[in-house]
């Protein structure tokens, strides 16, 4: 698998863990509005960003994805009132810690996309894909199978 990555045709593989109520609906809106965005992202739907165990992010990186995106409702707009506010603290710490140990900062991205922001969702995916493409294939902490 790693040989393929190094070759010319490498495309970043990005896992997006998104909340059901905002970003997933935002992605849906981007879809039905026929907004084009890079096909490099694999979306995992969870009830709320507060539900995401930071382990998911670390585990995804270990399993060899090139970037992880976590996205939920804007602060104050959480379906469960405070889920994303708790998540914000968790991920502030996680991103800072992963950067501290030497992971590239752009491999883990966090953002907010609301259900009406189809355009923003496409922009986010574009931005993340470009940032990860610039970094190249993930090599750190990738488990060799």
């Amino acid at each position: 698998m790693s040989e393929n990555k190094a070759s010319e045709g490498w495309e970043p593989r990005i896992v997006a863990i998104v909340c059901n109520w905002c970003t997933y609906a935002g992605a849906d809106l981007a879809g039905i509005s026929r907004i084009q965005y890079p096909p490099n992202v694999r979306i995992i739907r969870v009830p709320c960003t507060g539900r995401i165990n930071p382990f998911y992010v670390v585990k995804a990186l270990q399993e060899g994805v090139d970037g992880v995106l976590v996205s939920g409702c804007h602060p104050g707009e959480c379906h469960y009132i405070t889920g994303n506010l708790h998540a914000r603290r968790k991920f502030a710490m996680l991103k800072s810690f992963l950067t501290y140990i030497g992971m590239e900062a752009d491999r883990t991205m966090f953002t907010w996309v609301s259900a009406s922001e189809g355009e923003r969702f496409a922009q986010v995916i574009k931005g993340v894909t470009e940032a990860v493409r610039a970094l190249g294939p993930a090599t750190k902490m990738v488990k060799k199978i």
Binding site: R89, F97, I101, R120, K126, K140
Partner: protein, 335 residues
């Protein structure tokens, strides 16, 4: 030190004799010279065994939690009216009392389940540093007396200044006196040097990304995953640790280096706002992994982002179970 030890024994004996506590967790002289081991004292006459000196390394809050959670488990099948209460006395210095505060914040037991005999602390010995000072020679006999350590080795006797062999966490300790206690023995200890507590972290932060990763990889390469750090950590009290979970199996059990890295990252991440920097994990590590360099970063971030010093006050909330509407958001990606 002598007088503290004497008063500690008297106080412990009194507590046990008056049945105000069922067991006292403290330190006794270890089987090796210059080593103290945690002990559990139930008989008032055994209170004479207690010691308090620079050889007392571990964080005793771990054992308070162990004793109380085992007791609670033993009472589950007992009729409510027949349930017995168990009160644990503990010889608590700054870091141990901070861990107890964390346990109380996390509702692990009640304040009246524990009686804290507060003792001032001037730091404990880092045995890796001591061994370096002695050129790896075996300690045949030794005693910690005030700010001097007298050591006898095969090549003769030596006196070493305590401050040269203090553990790194003690040198920059901010809370070397108990934050909560039911009784205090001795005068408060003089402050250490907390202004330089983040020097190590700042040095790592100044490195480039690749250097930092190389440093992390080098440290984690030493790890043999004996889980001693987890066993000694007072904040690691889960009944089933994620490394032993099989559904889902978070961490592989093989010798793959990434599994070790993931284990360490996640164990350390679980310490966000819960690490009191007692240095127990570093002191028990048989391979000398410098865990503090990473844990201290979490401590620094928690203080900078949420203004929280773990375990410093009973009124605080654990930072990850709280939020404010204007928490910092500069890490959010905006295309």
């Amino acid at each position: 030190m002598e007088s503290i030890e004497k008063k500690l024994r008297e106080e412990a004996k009194l507590l046990l004799a008056e049945k105000r506590v069922d067991v006292i967790v403290g330190f006794e002289k270890g089987t090796l010279p210059l080593v103290a081991t945690p002990c559990f004292i139930e008989n008032p006459d055994d209170a004479e065994k207690l010691v308090w000196n620079a050889c007392c390394t571990q964080n005793l809050a771990k054992f308070v939690h162990d004793v109380l959670s085992q007791h609670r488990a033993s009472q589950v099948r007992v009729k409510p009216e027949d349930r017995k209460k168990k009160v644990v006395g503990v010889v608590g210095r700054g870091c141990a009392t901070r861990s107890i505060v964390l346990h109380l914040q996390e509702k692990q037991y009640d304040r009246d389940d524990v009686v804290i005999i507060g003792v001032p602390c001037t730091g404990y010995i880092d045995y890796k540093k001591l061994s370096g000072k002695l050129g790896g020679e075996e300690v045949l006999d030794g005693a910690a007396e005030g700010d001097q350590i007298k050591v006898k080795t095969a090549s003769g006797e030596k006196a070493i200044a305590l401050k040269d062999v203090l553990a790194a966490s003690c040198l920059t300790c901010r809370f070397n006196n108990p934050v909560i206690s039911d009784m205090m023995i001795g005068d408060p200890a003089p402050p250490m040097d907390p202004d330089h507590e983040y020097d190590d972290v700042n040095a790592v932060e100044a490195m480039s990304v690749e250097e930092r990763w190389a440093f992390f990889e080098k440290e984690m390469d030493k790890c043999i995953r004996c889980y001693a750090c987890r066993q000694t950590c007072p904040s690691c009290y889960c009944k089933t640790c994620f490394v032993e979970q099989s559904q889902p199996r978070w961490v592989g059990v093989g010798e793959d280096e990434t599994d070790t890295q993931v284990f360490q990252i996640m164990r350390m991440y679980h310490m966000v706002g819960r690490c009191v920097d007692c240095g127990s994990c570093s002191s028990v590590c048989p391979m000398g992994v410098d865990l503090r360099k990473f844990l201290k970063k979490l401590d620094k971030d928690v203080f900078e982002l949420f203004g929280n010093r773990p375990g410093s006050s009973l009124d605080d909330q654990p930072p990850l179970s709280a939020y404010t509407e204007n928490d910092k958001e500069n890490f959010i990606f905006n295309p």
